[in-house]
Symmetry: C2
Subunit: 316 residues, 2 copies
């Protein structure tokens, strides 16, 4: 089958054997797959990953020992856990120390014609959700995860830093809980859709020092944390979403003196994300700038890395 | 009166006017005052403080509009709040944005013969607590503050990083909640008292990656945070206590991927600290290496900065 193969900081299109599903896995024909900021970081060397990248996808099950999954349209959770360690046994399989991660850690991903995934990772996509929308289930679940870490109600003031895909999704999710949400970004074009949805947006930060109850850092840059710390109120909460290879010097005394809480947030609840898309409570299709075949991977990655763009898809 | 005066990175002994208490303040004759790591940082330029440093003290009230405080032995909370801002009105006066802080921010401190403090900052010291013990109320309260941020019970595993005064106090406070506490330090001599109290100690870290439910960073160095992040378990909690001017590059992706929580902790509950000293549940007198008159400030600060020493007192 065709697949994009990452090795030593270079991506190439190659022909590799179709994955052979294990006993607990299905074979999935990839319909669409999204390029994530993490994929761009992987290419730069993050995680030292070698293999097929890609972890945002929708596909159709084409081989399954359990017939109820056959021909079903699915998305898949990306952490493949061992099932037997203390983390797995207390239901926190996303922190299984023995896990592989689709397209990120020791498991070939979705920038290919086919992938194999365990049954327990699968989520059925209802007919009301399009293929393009379904590709957003994984990042939208990651956006929803911020709600798992704190109670946000209609009195909570929230700032979202970053107008990348994740920031734009998080702002929409937060807006369902509180009207007091603002998204800070750099690109008027990207912020426009939020403004249309009644969400405050701004391309300037700095004057709002010590203001917000909750600040969600989704800039994709290590420097975003310092910005978040400057605008969160004393005893406020900063939720960190960015994974990046950069390291920046940090003034940690601000965290101590203002007794700020900081929480890292990674993957989230797929079921909740599918519900939000199915019920049209979060809009995503306008975020797509282009669709490319695997052969045009160079153009696709260039487009995905372009500052004005949000989401670029592969159609393998 | 005699006082130590800090200006432009230099300390000198000077003669300055005795403070004149405001309507809501008492005048206190300082009996003993402790040198804190923060004082050493102030001398290096932290907070840009100019004036009389010193915020750990015990004293006797010598002038008070309310007679019930006259001649009483007291310690004092260090944050002097405005009483009228939103933080104060919701009972969080330690985060009052208009606050001054004894010996740290726009308020002359306790390395002097006399200080003035508001009534609401005062705590009576019972007869069962010695002057030397009473000087530890402020840092012991700061140690107790870690319990305000998380539930620690007898199944929680806790690592304390740092064998300075704060680390040694925190380890004792945590031991009251769980037997599973270890203190990592650099000085066998300082750790010995903890070992005698049945607390695990170690001068080596590094092999315990991803182990502890809670890690309390009290090294006094910015690099302590990275060490804390390396030994906390996924979804575990790091409590930051160190305030330092250093900045170190930080790999924040670890916080995101392992969904670690980080909380800054500053001042704590004085009442709880006084109870612990009064009931002999925490021992502090063995931590004192020496007592000095204000005139010997150079020797006192040198002794306080000496790596093997924990606590040095002034007796003004």
């Amino acid at each position: 089958m065709k697949a994009l193969i990452l090795a030593d900081g270079h991506v190439r299109l190659g022909e590799i054997p179709q994955p052979i599903p294990r006993e607990n896995e299905v074979l999935i024909k990839v319909l669409k797959a999204g390029i994530c900021q993490t994929d761009l970081e992987l290419i730069k060397g993050y995680m030292g990953f070698k293999g097929v990248p890609g972890h945002e996808f929708v596909g159709r099950v084409v081989q399954s020992a359990r017939t109820e999954w056959m021909n079903k349209r699915v998305v898949g959770e990306i952490n493949i856990a061992c099932g037997g360690c203390p983390s797995c046994l207390r239901g926190r399989s996303k922190h299984c120390p023995n896990r592989s991660v689709l397209g990120i850690l020791e498991k070939d991903g979705a920038f290919a014609e086919y992938i194999a995934l365990p049954f327990e990772n699968l989520h059925l996509i209802p007919e009301s959700v399009s293929d393009t929308e379904a590709v957003f289930v994984e990042p939208l679940a990651a956006a929803c995860d911020v709600l798992e870490h704190t109670n946000i109600d209609d009195r909570t003031s929230v700032a979202v830093l970053g107008d990348g895909k994740l920031g734009l999704l998080i702002a929409q999710v937060i807006k369902l809980k509180t009207p007091h949400v603002i998204c800070y970004g750099k690109h008027e074009k990207k912020l426009e859709a939020l403004r249309m949805a009644g969400i405050f947006v701004s391309t300037r930060t700095g004057k709002e020092k010590g203001t917000y109850d909750v600040v969600i850092e989704a800039t994709g840059r290590a420097s975003g944390l310092e910005q978040a710390l400057s605008i969160v109120r004393p005893e406020g909460l900063v939720i960190l979403k960015s994974t990046t290879r950069e390291q920046v010097p940090m003034d940690t005394s601000k965290i101590v003196v203002d007794e700020i809480r900081l929480i890292g947030s990674r993957c989230g609840p797929f079921g909740k994300a599918i519900d939000l898309l199915s019920n049209r409570r979060v809009k995503v299709e306008h975020l797509v700038q282009g669709e490319y075949p695997l052969e045009s991977y160079a153009d696709a990655f260039e487009s995905a890395a372009s500052p004005g763009n949000v989401k670029v898809l592969f159609v393998p």
